[in-house]
């Protein structure tokens, strides 16, 4: 019997599962902070209306100006070009091709961290937005009017197009690119082709529906990084740099349809990636074996099995979410369950962040070193040494297992606390009466303890 290999598509190192004692401590701390938090909770909504204030005009102009915007756009377009060039011309080995680590580590994970620290940076560097703006500007110059948009994207579609594109992206990363049977997982050539296809798709959609509208609802990276940027205290509003209370930007995030699906997809895919190498590994293996016995080719069987479990895990996460909200609905004076969903979805963004850090922290610490050492100097993996760093590798002694474990558990607990704070704030503004708010929050508390315990459980099962 051929066993499916469960290995990261990229990188050479996996984390050890957290030991039972740390799992127990993590769970205990989660429960204690939850109840202490609830008893200390405030009685007046503090995060509704984010209190955005512009910084001094001079400082604002230093950051937000046409030259900086053009420069950031050019950098974005240049890097997009490097990705396609390296992917199509470089080595087949995903670990030695600049494109793969750049897309799936530096941008996909690194940009989340940058978005939280500095606000929506991706918007500035987004290559597709930069090109669309350049084209739109030229059109206006020549035609004397803004470019027409032949089709209108209805409001009720909301962020669903971005949800679809994001699902395709994570499927490509976690299922299609999954290593197995000696086949290189994330084939750089496939990454290059996918980048070109997505670029073409984005340009067509922006031309049809208008660039800004598509960036807000359909361009999945803008929408995904924009979600995390809501946590940041920094936001550019109407061309002016300003500051708001951290987390407060989340309060208005989930009003658009599709937002709930987006945050649940973010949590669900991280859960799947963690679970398949531990918690559900044996189930995956048995479904895979069953398919191979039924005559499906091994690679197809592996992809089908992983697709199936990806859907199951995302559905499980969504089910947990809706079950909690259904319980909350039973509190007197509650809005209907569906409405509760959009009212509270934003509180799960910090949970998604906690999951992301817990699962990928060591990956970005170690694989991120590859990006700035040998991949930078030898992007194609052909032996060149552009900046003299081609022979430096990854220093795996940078952080030990204990350090990684504490970051993992700490990030889950921190995400949990932030999520509770955001949800509590929203409950007060809905229920008015702080006693009813508290009662609705027991449900929310149970739900979030459930998610955080699930996260801890995944870490204890290996990931």
């Amino acid at each position: 019997m051929i066993a499916p290999l469960v290995a990261h598509a990229l990188g050479a190192r996996d984390d050890l599962p957290i030991p039972d004692w740390l799992f127990a401590w993590g769970a205990a701390v989660v429960l204690i902070v939850s109840f202490v938090g609830l008893s200390l909770a405030w009685h007046r909504a503090r995060l509704e209306g984010d209190g955005w204030r512009p910084v001094s005009p001079r400082l604002s102009r230093l950051v937000v100006n046409p030259a900086a915007e053009a420069l950031a756009g050019l950098i974005g377009v240049f890097l997009l070009g490097v990705v396609v060039w390296a992917a199509l011309n470089g080595t087949d080995d995903p670990n030695h091709n600049f494109a793969v680590t750049f897309v799936f580590v530096t941008v996909w994970l690194g940009m989340v961290a940058l978005s939280i620290a500095f606000g929506d940076l991706f918007r500035a560097f987004n290559p597709w937005r930069a090109i669309a703006r350049a084209v739109g500007g030229s059109f206006r110059l020549v035609a004397g009017q803004p470019a027409p948009t032949p089709l209108e994207l209805p409001d009720r579609v909301g962020r669903w197009p971005a949800v679809g594109a994001l699902a395709a992206f994570v499927w490509f990363y976690l299922v299609y690119g999954q290593a197995g049977f000696g086949a290189a997982g994330l084939d750089p050539h496939a990454v290059g082709v996918a980048t070109l296809v997505y670029t073409a798709y984005t340009f067509v959609a922006m031309a049809l529906f208008g660039a800004e509208r598509w960036l807000e609802r359909g361009e999945c990276f803008s929408v995904y990084f924009g979600m995390f940027a809501r946590i940041s205290p920094i936001e550019i509003r109407e061309g002016r740099l300003g500051l708001r209370r951290p987390l407060a930007g989340l309060s208005s995030w989930a009003t658009m349809p599709g937002s709930i699906a987006l945050v649940l997809l973010a949590i669900g895919t991280t859960t799947f990636d963690g679970a398949r190498e531990g918690a559900i590994q044996s189930q995956i293996t048995s479904v895979f074996d069953w398919m191979v016995d039924a005559g499906v080719g091994p690679l197809a069987a592996l992809r089908l099995t992983n697709s199936f479990f990806l859907v199951v895990v995302v559905a499980f996460v969504a089910g947990l979410f809706w079950a909690g909200l259904y319980g909350m609905h039973s509190v007197k004076g509650s809005p209907p369950t569906r409405r509760l969903g959009s009212l509270f979805a934003h509180a799960f963004v910090p949970i998604a962040l906690g999951y992301l850090v817990a699962h990928y922290f060591s990956f970005i610490i170690f694989q991120g070193q590859a990006q700035f050492t040998y991949l930078l100097s030898d992007p194609l993996g052909d032996g060149s040494d552009l900046f003299g760093t081609a022979s430096s590798g990854i220093d795996y002694t940078l952080i030990g297992t204990h350090g990684i474990w504490y970051v993992m558990v700490g990030s889950l607990v921190a995400g949990h606390v932030l999520a509770l704070a955001v949800a509590h704030d929203r409950a007060i503004s809905i229920y008015g009466d702080s006693q009813l708010a508290a009662r609705s929050q027991y449900w929310m508390l149970a739900l979030m303890v459930g998610f955080t315990s699930l996260g801890l459980f995944l870490l204890s099962q290996g990931n």
Binding site: L16, A27, A183, S282, Y396, G400, T401, F457
Partner: protein, 162 residues
Amino acid sequence: MQSRLMRAAIAVVAVIAAVVLFVVLSEGDETEPEQTPPAAERQAPEAEEPEAEAEVPEAEQSERERPEREREPSEPAIPTIVVRDGEPVGGVEELTFRSGDRIRFAIRSDVDEEVHVHGFDVYADLEAGRKRELDFPAAFEGVFEVELHGSGVEIATLTVRP
């Protein structure tokens, strides 16, 4: 007053739930090894399979974990991975070492190959039919693949524990 009672009740329920959850999960841990053997001591049955040819009886394997330095470097009692028809006999071998110890194991392949230990980036040529021993320090922790460089087949999972 009522809300206080309510909170206390919820606290009690939550603590009970946590205890139950923990007990259930730890039981889950104990039943699981049959499907996924994560540690060296748990995969003893595998090593004893007659066709596995891994020349490592259980006692020696668990002994290997601790008094590493006291033993002679020439001692043959190290785990041996046998590769036949390009696949590891008995499945992907689980090797576990402690951080700071020496990582020692041997591979015997029926074809010429090259072995690559990920992370440590140790490469070694394998000659068909001959046993090749690897010995290098466990300088850092984590879970790493040991693969045949030519075919890309994983033959062992190397775990370095703190």
